[in-house]
């Protein structure tokens, strides 16, 4: 699934990184603790999180993430946007809760596999 499909199904706003929405997502990760992001065993993941600090983008970058989705319409710190711009990581913001966002993604994946 591509990031731009996520934009559509999560009714998400692209905060930065319009140019990188064609990237293929290999994994999904949902974490509200930075060390949990680092404990993931795969890279090229899309991170869904309730954290909004600059460090969440830094952590995604280090761990090989390809994008970050902020849930519940939470806005990241301005520094997070600057960091994402520098590392070409798209940032999305969805009004959905973590649960609804996850359910929507899973439903979309299941539909594709059928």
């Amino acid at each position: 699934m591509k990031i731009k499909e996520i934009v559509k199904i999560l009714d998400a706003e692209v905060l930065t990184g319009e140019l990188y929405l064609d990237i293929e997502i290999e994994e999904f990760a949902v974490c509200d603790l930075l060390s949990d992001v680092l404990a993931l065993s795969k890279d090229r993941f899309l991170l869904l999180t309730g954290l909004t600090t600059q460090q969440v983008v830094r952590t995604a970058e280090i761990a090989g993430g390809i994008g970050v989705v902020f849930v519940r319409g939470k806005t990241p710190e301005p520094g997070a946007i600057g960091m994402a711009r520098s590392h070409h990581i798209p940032l999305l913001m969805t009004p959905m809760s973590t649960f609804d966002a996850c359910r929507t993604i899973v439903e979309a994946i299941n539909k594709k596999e059928k």
């Binding site: 930075l34 060390s35 680092l38 946007i81």
Partner: protein
């Protein structure tokens, strides 16, 4: 315009509106009229400049009144549009000194419901310094937020360039980076530079990830728990070696520190999303070999090795 009464958390915005002064947000190039201007002249000037009001100044640039598009409409309506403004303008003017914060300005806008506030040089004079609208305030806040983002972006770009420059010379060079105590704004900067460096060496992405995570956790440990230190990375044919050294005060109980979930991090650190007690366990998981030596006198030395296959010359 109830910015100040919003129930939402406006942490950054409220910090900024206290920090930014009226003079930083106001328009300095003021369109103004003399009291001898006619409503007709005022109407065409307002239209030309696409504004809905302006101050009336005397010869010494002191504010003596305000005129708005509403006043012009009334003049048209009641048939005195060719008369001078001095007999009709509002004279009980509300001004704001240029050194006040935007908070005071917003409060005045909310209290008096004006579209614009003439700005004075200071509290003791009516001499004009500029003019302020809610649009100016909004614009200034947006620019401030953008400046913060741009600053971070520029710094990251510079770090990437810096790590790019390290390549090209000797590939088997030892890289050394300093890590400062409690420097959370730059947290992860070293790990990010090492990651970029290794990426440019075409190192396999899973290895890259593991090295970056070891460096990041080690960097955070030095920054959070010690007085500072440094991280060195050495890329060899078959392995990548990471050594993180700090100046103390050392780990009292290494076995405890290795236990997942064990943490001594403060509330402040945890608010940043760190300090979950997973640092050393994460390093252990990512490294093929880990050695940890700590003394309460000299500090901690962490040595991690990650094997690589055929790195090529």
């Amino acid at each position: 315009m109830t910015i100040l009464h919003s129930k939402e958390k406006l942490t950054l915005a409220s910090e900024l509106i206290y920090e930014i002064k009226v003079k930083d947000a106001m328009t300095r190039d003021v369109i103004y009229f003399s009291q001898d201007s006619t409503f007709r002249e005022i109407q065409s000037s307002l239209k030309k400049h696409r504004i809905s009001g302006a101050p009336i100044l005397d010869e010494k640039k002191n504010i003596i009144g305000m005129v708005s598009i509403d006043n012009v409409i009334t003049a048209l309506d009641e048939g005195y549009v060719n008369e001078k403004v001095k007999d009709y303008m509002s004279r009980d003017i509300i001004t704001i000194p240029q050194n006040y914060s935007l908070v005071s300005a917003i409060k005045k806008f909310e209290k008096y419901k004006f579209g614009r506030l003439p700005v004075t040089k200071n509290t003791r004079t009516d001499k004009i310094a500029g003019i302020l609208t809610m649009g100016d305030i909004l614009n200034c806040l947006l620019v401030s937020i953008q400046t913060i983002a741009e600053k971070v972006e520029k710094k990251e770009d510079q770090n990437t360039l810096l790590s790019d420059k390290m390549i090209g010379q000797d590939k088997k060079k030892r890289l050394q980076f300093e890590v400062k105590k409690a420097d959370f704004d730059n947290a992860g900067q070293v790990a990010s530079m090492i990651r970029n460096y290794l990426q440019k060496l075409n190192i396999e992405k899973q290895i890259l990830r593991r090295v970056a995570i070891v460096c990041y956790e080690a960097e955070m440990n030095i920054s959070i728990h010690s007085l500072g230190g440094h991280i060195t990375v050495e890329v060899e044919e078959t392995k990548i070696e990471i050594i993180a050294t700090d100046y103390g005060p050392g780990i009292p109980d290494i076995e405890e520190a290795m236990r997942p979930g064990y943490t001594t991090a403060s509330e402040q650190i945890r608010a940043l999303g760190f300090g979950a007690g997973m640092g050393l366990p994460n390093i252990k998981r990512c490294a093929d070999y880990l050695e940890l030596e700590s003394s309460m006198e000299t500090g901690t030395i962490l040595k991690a090795i990650i094997h690589v296959e055929g790195l090529g010359g």
